[in-house]
């Protein structure tokens, strides 16, 4: 700011004084962006996400029965109610109509096991909306993905209700529920399911994560609509694929291959629906790719080297914490060179 002013003052004495006398050109000075898409609203984006989640939710209902629908209803309703209560407490305009709380609730529900009791969903929603979102100032201000904050909260609180044993019900009539989740099976050295069941989603797992097909369908829709940035899922998948590929080269006869890593667990669900939250992920395309890559690498590290069978939740939360750093490292260079620094 100070630079150009002093330069004109020192260099030419005439221009700045005489300019107003000449016919003033009709210029509007405003900061960018100058062209925006009026159709791109928060509500529109949230509707897109909800549409994209339909295949995953339908698959969950097909595999897990009505408990999946009940879980989605509980989480979505309590998220919306908590959002209304907390925004009311802060004396802000009611923000439930933008649909963001609804999306948080549905994603949260789809990341829980089918067996989670009702209060798990309610407490997770309370933590997601209260601690994950409203405390930071509401939509657009949150550092961490609200749904994952809620899930982490109940995961640590109710380890017995959300750990690996909670997924298995040996007496169930549903075939998927009698077996351990694929990642737990892999961890314990049990026989792993084939790639085709993993791809279709007739395996055990959290509600929305089992079907890779449904996640890819919804994810491609989001990426083509540009509601989600394609760089993030690409980074996540690349990160896991490279590390798992290296491991596969070192142990060629291992039962758990690269494709198992990609199709099993909540990797694709997380890559397409959780990591792509536009609030808590970087803005620049390069930064988005770095963010995705980091999530992928962390997912692989947590899956293979930690006590948890799956690492998408913690990977996303950790990379959310790194987002401001990524922002700083990937500020795009403005047209005409970098912004001059103040002396």
């Amino acid at each position: 700011m100070a630079g150009p002013e002093t330069e004109t003052g020192a260099g030419g004495e005439a221009p700045s004084e005489t300019a107003p006398e000449a016919r003033a050109p009709d210029l509007h000075v405003a900061p960018g962006p100058h062209i925006s898409n009026p159709a791109l609203t928060t509500r529109g984006m949230m509707v897109d996400v909800l549409l994209a989640l339909i295949p995953a939710a339908a698959m969950a209902t097909w595999v897990f029965g009505l408990s999946a629908l009940a879980q989605i209803a509980i989480c979505a309703a309590s998220c919306v109610v908590f959002e209304a209560v907390f925004t009311r407490m802060r004396g802000r305009r009611l923000s439930i109509l933008d649909g963001s709380a609804l999306v948080t609730g549905v994603i949260l529900a789809l990341s829980l096991p089918w067996s989670a009791p009702w209060y798990v969903g309610v407490i997770a929603s309370l933590a997601a909306i209260g601690l994950g979102k409203i405390v930071f100032g509401g939509l657009g201000q949150n550092l961490f993905n609200p749904a994952m904050v809620g899930r982490a909260f109940v995961m640590i609180s109710f380890a017995a209700l959300l750990g690996a044993p909670a997924y298995v019900d040996p007496a169930s009539a549903l075939d998927a529920l009698t077996q351990a989740t694929p990642l737990t099976a892999a961890k314990q050295g049990a026989p792993v399911p084939g790639l085709w069941p993993l791809f279709l989603g007739v395996t055990n797992g959290s509600l929305g994560e089992t079907s890779s097909l449904a996640c890819i369908l919804g994810g491609l829709f989001l990426c083509l609509r540009r509601t989600a940035a394609w760089q993030i899922p690409a980074g996540v998948i690349l990160g896991v694929a490279v590390l798992a590929g290296l491991d596969n080269l070192l142990h060629p006869d291992a039962a758990w291959t690269v494709l198992h890593h990609l199709l099993g667990g909540s990797l694709l669900f997380g890559a397409f629906f959780i990591a792509t939250d536009p609030v808590s992920s970087p803005l620049a395309p390069r930064g988005r790719f770095i963010f995705g890559l980091g999530v992928g690498i962390l997912v692989y590290v947590i899956r293979v080297f930690s006590g948890y069978p799956e690492g998408v939740m913690f990977a996303v939360l950790l990379m959310n914490a790194a987002t401001p750093l990524i922002h700083r490292a990937t500020i795009p260079r403005p047209l005409g060179g970098p912004v001059p620094q103040k002396a």
């Binding site: 009791p117 798990v120 640590i156 609180s157």
Partner: protein, 214 residues
């Protein structure tokens, strides 16, 4: 100079709520976060801190005429360290389990800012009686703050209060789903944040009401 210092009664009352060490001054955060997982360790910590705070206030107030300005912090620290050592050894001798459980946090009372700030603000300037009432008031404020945080964390986190079962948790065959996270460190931060917000909100409301009345 002396006459514009608060009186003994004011010191006593201020310590409890208006200048509560935890909620208004944000001092002594280390024990506030570390030992409030349950009521028992929290109250032991509050008792030990109260002992050190009151005794240090008495000693400093008695020797306030002898303090040299450039050496006063050193004298404060030595005095506090003496009483912390006494408290630490006492707990180790008579409440061994509690001493084990509190671990390094008893010796860490020595760096609790509440105590040195009371020595500096009150005891080194005012009479013995004022210093004692200040120490008692501040100790009560500190105990109250620890009790409030520990109550929330213990009831939510394990369904008990002072070890008594209020809500039978699922681990013991009851119905209460204990919020494990509340006993862990994140629970301390969340509880402190929520209660701090609540205290600020109450403060703001009462201030607004007073302004409306005036």
């Amino acid at each position: 100079m002396a006459h514009d210092q608060p009186t003994a009664l004011e010191r006593f009352v201020n310590g409890i709520l208006p200048e509560n060490p935890v909620y208004r001054q944000l001092l002594g955060m280390c024990p506030t976060l570390a030992v409030t997982g349950a009521m028992k360790p929290a109250m032991t910590m509050a008792g030990a801190t109260a002992f050190v705070l009151i005794m240090a206030n008495i000693m400093i107030s008695l020797m306030r005429g002898l303090l040299k300005p450039h050496l006063r912090i050193l004298v404060f620290t030595l005095t506090i360290a003496t009483f912390v050592t006494i408290a630490d050894r006492f707990l180790a001798a008579f409440m061994y389990d509690m001493s084990k459980q509190l671990g390094p946090y008893i010796p860490l009372i020595i760096v609790n800012c509440i105590i040195i700030s009371r020595c500096e603000i009150c005891a080194s300037k005012q009479s013995l009686f004022t210093a004692v009432s200040d120490g008692v008031g501040m100790s009560m404020g500190f105990a109250l703050a620890l009790a409030s945080i520990a109550t929330v964390r213990e009831v939510l986190g394990s369904g008990t209060w002072f070890g008594l079962t209020l809500l039978r948790s699922q681990g013991e065959g009851g119905w209460w789903p204990a919020w494990g996270i509340m006993v862990l460190p994140p629970g301390a931060f969340i509880t402190l944040g929520c209660l701090l917000g609540l205290v600020n909100w109450i403060q703001e409301r009462s201030a607004k009401r007073q302004r409306a009345r005036a």
